[in-house]
């Protein structure tokens, strides 16, 4: 008995995503509008949300399936100690409370039993030796390492001073310590690290969980030097677990040089201390925004200059009000009070610890401690604030060829505005920004960006992206009173991000624009429709059709209502929605939408308009897929005629039209005509785009198919070579298009009677397809079918059968190229059963 059928679950799933992400207060009204639009989905959604509050109360699945503390080791002896009870488990192994058992000394200790694989190849001897050096480190704020060794049973262990306490961040929050009290506590941490550094020991893994504070406020640093102890002989040979991304190195607290494999020095600890301080003061990690994936985090650590402390606590875009208030409350102040307290000297101190270049950080932990002390005593600090003049001077120094910093900046901004204006002009076709509106937006951007301090990028040369980032932040601050303009600018910058290939940056801006628009007195307005449209396009680009569909439908309904049924903007959304359906294989739902868009464009733009031609082309492609070859062909001819007339004979669009005509010729079985048309298409695109243009890859591929069908295998092979030679460097080996080329190469191998060459290509292709495409996509079916055919030829019938059967269920019957695949698959099944001597089964597929 399952909770919901697969279909119902899939229908409700995207809405559940949104509901989970949504703030409580937003949800009610959103649910209400959903109930009006999709009552069945809304009912399921509410049922699931109710389930959610029930499971939260019960703490459902909150623990683990696994028992946390087996008592089996209690009573064992390790060296002079007897294990008493398990204190904790961590990535390195387990930690036990132990009692000294030889009677010579009193007292307890913590024993860390390490996973054997952590000790590394340096072996037991070095482990013991290093351990004895660390054991000499004695300081009131350092938890002492008493002994390190390997038990006779091969179990590596560390004996540590037993410390009871909470991690420093929890301690500070629990006591509600204000900024000054936190800094005083932090000075104890610094004293401990300074002592270790004086003894030439670097901690290497400073993080909150390694800094405990006892109930009496006593700070103890744990695990001093243990990261090194575990790392190997210092020649950079990491042990397996470090190399495999285990927990020995904690990326959140790693310095750039640790990530990059540079030299580890005391400056590495300075950096980690900076992160710890950042966390204690703001409640946030400096790379908080980048903590999504390890790759992002690593990039942030190595490249991105963190937000200033004071900006970090005040940023309304990234931190919800609740969180800001909570963070400030834990520091006995208000968000504004916190921002003020951090602004200035503390900003400067932390920024200095977090420099990417170790040499730009504080020269020692003592120097850092000195500045913290000076701050507490209200004396001027030693660190140099990153003033505009200072940064400008550095910037100019890097551009020593007589170019002044100001000139560089002005050039960049002029370039950027030019870029925007060009973008907007180019987008006018689709987005329908009226000319004067585009200009207004460009003016506003100029104002914003010339007003923006380009050195906000802190020492790095401003780039288009960093200026965009700065622009996005300023929109929030400076246009706070003008939600209309704010929404508009968010949309513009969001779209530019999208065009630059950063959909993840674009998405929150567009979502914010939608939210702003919905709060306006007229929640249904053109801007909201535009943002919804853009969001839908973005989500489709990410393959999230379930979310893209509803967005575009809403945009469509809104535009129809506001602009009337025959407005060009309505056509834009119709086409986008049609594409979403098409991508999902729902051609029958897409077709009427594309026809409607075409009718609107014919009426409002005329027959010989570029956009009308685009619409014709789009519809023709769909009709071809549906098997309406004749109609598709006549539409393609029309497109070719319009393109030739409006764009000239050597335009890339003409080449595209020729290519499409080649495809329908192939559909009709006229491969000689297909070959001729493909060659014409390639001739035009070579002239118009250059020989190596990525678009030509598919044209070479189509030529190869036409050649293969005529039995011209060698020519086909060299055409595919050309195609792959363009596609692999341009898109990468795993791109869907590249994979399609490889599938076609496999097809050629099969046609040539070389099934063994086809097999690996098809397996590779399937691997990528399964990752990137929905389960029942026809391309998956088509590759499976070909693999089945190859295996049949190789006599591996029992492997071939399930593939061909599976393919049969993925390939839609009917006319059109996909139907052709389905028919081919049936023939392959018949061939399989015939070769397998199961003719009664073969008959079914004949």
């Amino acid at each position: 008995m399952s909770a919901l059928s697969r279909e119902r679950w899939q229908a409700v799933s995207p809405y559940l995503d949104r509901a989970i992400e949504m703030a409580e207060e937003e949800r009610a009204s959103w649910l209400e509008s959903l109930r009006a639009r999709e009552p069945a989905v809304a009912a399921d959604l509410e049922m699931l949300l109710e389930e959610r509050s029930a499971l939260d109360r019960e703490g459902f699945l909150e623990g683990s399936a696994l028992p946390p503390a087996p008592a089996s080791l209690a009573g064992q002896t390790i060296g002079a100690y007897t294990l008493v009870s398990l204190i904790g488990q961590g990535g390195m192994g387990s930690v036990w409370l132990a009692q000294r058992s030889d009677g010579r000394f009193q007292g307890q200790a913590a024993i860390k039993l390490l996973n054997a694989s952590l000790v590394g190849r340096a072996g037991e001897e070095r482990f013991r030796r290093e351990g004895s050096i660390l054991a000499r480190l004695a300081h009131p704020h350092i938890a002492r390492l008493v002994d390190a060794g390997v038990s006779p049973g091969g179990q590596p262990y560390l004996v540590l001073e037993h410390v009871e306490g909470e991690t420093i961040d929890r301690y500070c929050d629990g006591k509600g310590l204000d900024i000054r009290a936190r800094l005083r506590l932090f000075l104890d941490v610094l004293a401990a690290v300074a002592h270790a550094h004086a003894n030439l020991i670097v901690h290497r893994d400073i993080k909150p969980s390694n800094v405990l504070v006892g109930a009496d406020g006593d700070v103890k640093l744990l695990d001093f030097g243990i990261a090194k102890l575990l790392e190997g002989d210092g020649s950079g040979e990491a042990t397996e677990l470090t190399r495999e991304g285990g927990r020995a190195l904690t990326p959140e607290y790693a310095a750039p040089e640790q990530i990059a494999g540079g030299t580890i020095t005391t400056a590495t600890d300075v950096y980690a201390l900076g992160i710890l301080l950042y966390l204690l003061l703001t409640g946030r990690h400096p790379a908080e925004d980048a903590r999504g994936s390890t790759a992002d985090l690593v990039r942030a650590i190595v490249e991105v200059v963190p937000r200033r402390l004071s900006d970090s606590v005040a940023n309304a875009r990234t931190i919800p009000l609740q969180a800001r208030e909570r963070n400030a409350g834990l520091r006995a102040t208000s968000p504004e009070g916190l921002r003020r307290a951090l602004k200035g000297d503390l900003d400067t101190i932390v920024a200095r610890t977090l420099k990417k270049n170790p040499q730009e950080r504080y020269s020692s932990v003592t120097a850092l401690a000195e500045d913290v002390r000076r701050y507490l005593e209200n004396k001027p600090i030693s660190a140099r604030p990153d003033t505009l003049a200072y940064r400008a001077a550095k910037f100019a120094r890097r551009h020593a060829r007589g170019v002044t910093a100001a000139a560089v900046t002005i050039l960049l901004i002029a370039g950027l505005v030019g870029f925007y204006t060009a973008r907007l002009a180019a987008e006018r076709d689709r987005a329908r920004f009226q000319a004067q509106k585009a200009e207004k937006v460009a003016q506003l951007l100029t104002g914003l960006l010339t007003g923006a301090d380009p050195y906000e990028t802190r020492g790095k040369e401003p780039t288009v992206r960093s200026l965009l980032d700065a622009g996005a932040q300023r929109i929030e601050k400076e246009l706070a009173g003008e939600p209309d303009l704010q929404a508009e600018m968010l949309t513009v910058i969001g779209r530019v991000y999208q065009r630059l290939g950063s959909p993840d940056k674009a998405r929150p801006l567009l979502e914010e624009a939608v939210a702003l628009g919905r709060r306006a007195p007229e929640p249904e307005n053109e801007r909201v429709a535009q943002s919804l449209n853009d969001l839908g396009v973005l989500l489709r680009g990410k393959g999230n059709y379930a979310a893209a569909g509803p967005m575009l439908e809403e945009a469509l309904a809104m535009r129809r209502k506001l602009l009337g049924p025959a407005h060009p903007d309505v056509a834009v959304t119709l086409v986008e929605l049609g594409r979403v359906y098409e991508d999902q294989g729902l051609e029958d739902r897409a077709e009427p939408l594309l026809r409607e868009a075409l009718a609107i464009r014919r009426k409002t733009l005329g027959e010989e308009d570029h956009e009308t031609a685009t619409s014709l082309n789009e519809l023709a492609l769909l009709l071809r897929q549906r098997g309406s070859t004749a109609e598709a062909e006549s539409l393609f001819r029309r497109v070719l005629a319009i393109d030739r007339k409006t764009r000239g004979d050597d335009h890339p669009d003409v080449s595209a039209a020729l290519n499409n005509l080649a495809l329908v010729a192939g559909d009709r079985g006229d491969y000689a005509a297909a070959e001729a048309l493909s060659r014409q298409a390639l001739a035009v695109s070579g002239k118009a785009l250059g020989e190596r243009h990525p678009r030509r890859a598919m044209q070479w591929n189509n030529l190869a198919s036409a050649l293969r069908e005529q039995g011209k295998y060698d020519e086909a092979a060299s055409a595919l070579d050309e195609a792959l030679g363009i596609a692999v460097p341009a898109f990468g080996g795993d791109h869907l298009l590249t994979v399609a080329l490889k599938v076609n190469l496999a097809r050629l191998h099969l046609a040539r009677g070389e099934p063994a060459n086809a097999e690996p290509l098809l397996r590779q292709a399937l691997e990528v397809y399964k990752l990137k495409l929905p389960e029942k996509d026809w391309r998956v079916g088509s590759a499976e079918s070909l693999l089945g055919a190859a295996l049949t030829k190789l006599g591996r019938y029992d492997e071939a059968e399930p593939l061909l059967l599976e393919a049969g269920s993925a390939l839609p019957e009917g006319p059109g190229p996909r139907g052709r695949e389905a028919r081919a698959n049936r023939e392959r099944l018949a061939a399989l059963y015939e070769s397998w001597a199961r003719s009664e089964k073969a008959a079914v597929y004949r």
Binding site: L4, L61, S117
Partner: protein, 188 residues
């Protein structure tokens, strides 16, 4: 005939080969069990095995044996399901016989609150999870990795190549689904 590699079994499984799926499960099961036994042999007085450690080691072992092996995230997704099987079997045998020697598989998270589910619950959760897998495989994999193997959201995010927030949201959805399923089953 040479025994197929784990890597090839994974790719055949992904091409929909049911036989390969079973063979994959069986060989991973053997692999994990062997590693657990090896630990036990090293430390006969009984040893605690971190589920995540065991999986890491299995991955290391296999990737050392099979040079072409590269996709750790995918490996973990399959191995985590096998680990669930191992845990359930272990729980069942624990139900059957008083616990003696042998080994215990433990979670590694230090901060994992809550108490472990009892053995009967585990079987029911596992059954519900199989149903979820049929409806939404990705969600089920996250439960295997998190609840049964003790990986953190951050680790799962890296393995699946998505953001931590996405993992948390999927986890939340999976819990909702499972909770609903279990409640319905107990009503039926």
């Amino acid at each position: 005939m040479v025994a197929p590699t784990i890597a090839s079994l994974i790719s055949s499984t992904e091409s929909g080969d049911r036989g390969a799926a079973d063979a994959l499960f069986a060989s991973l099961y053997t692999e994990l069990h062997r590693l657990a036994q090896r630990q036990l042999a090293r430390n006969p007085s009984g040893v605690t095995l971190g589920a995540t450690t065991l999986l890491h080691e299995a991955y290391l072992d296999i990737s050392r044996r099979e040079a072409a092996f590269s996709d750790r995230g995918r490996f973990m997704a399959y191995a985590a399901k096998v680990m669930r099987g191992l845990i359930i079997d272990y729980a069942r045998s624990r139900q059957a016989q008083k616990r003696g020697g042998g080994f215990a598989i433990t979670s590694l998270g230090t901060e994992g609150g809550g108490s472990p589910a009892d053995d009967k619950d585990l079987s029911r959760i596992s059954d519900a999870l199989d149903e979820l897998a049929a409806v939404d495989r990705e969600l089920a994999q996250i439960v295997d990795l998190k609840f049964f193997c003790g990986f953190s959201f951050a680790e799962i995010a890296v393995m699946r190549g998505v953001s931590e927030r996405t993992v948390q949201r999927r986890w939340e959805k999976a819990r909702i689904y499972l909770h609903r399923t279990l409640r319905k089953t107990s009503l039926d």
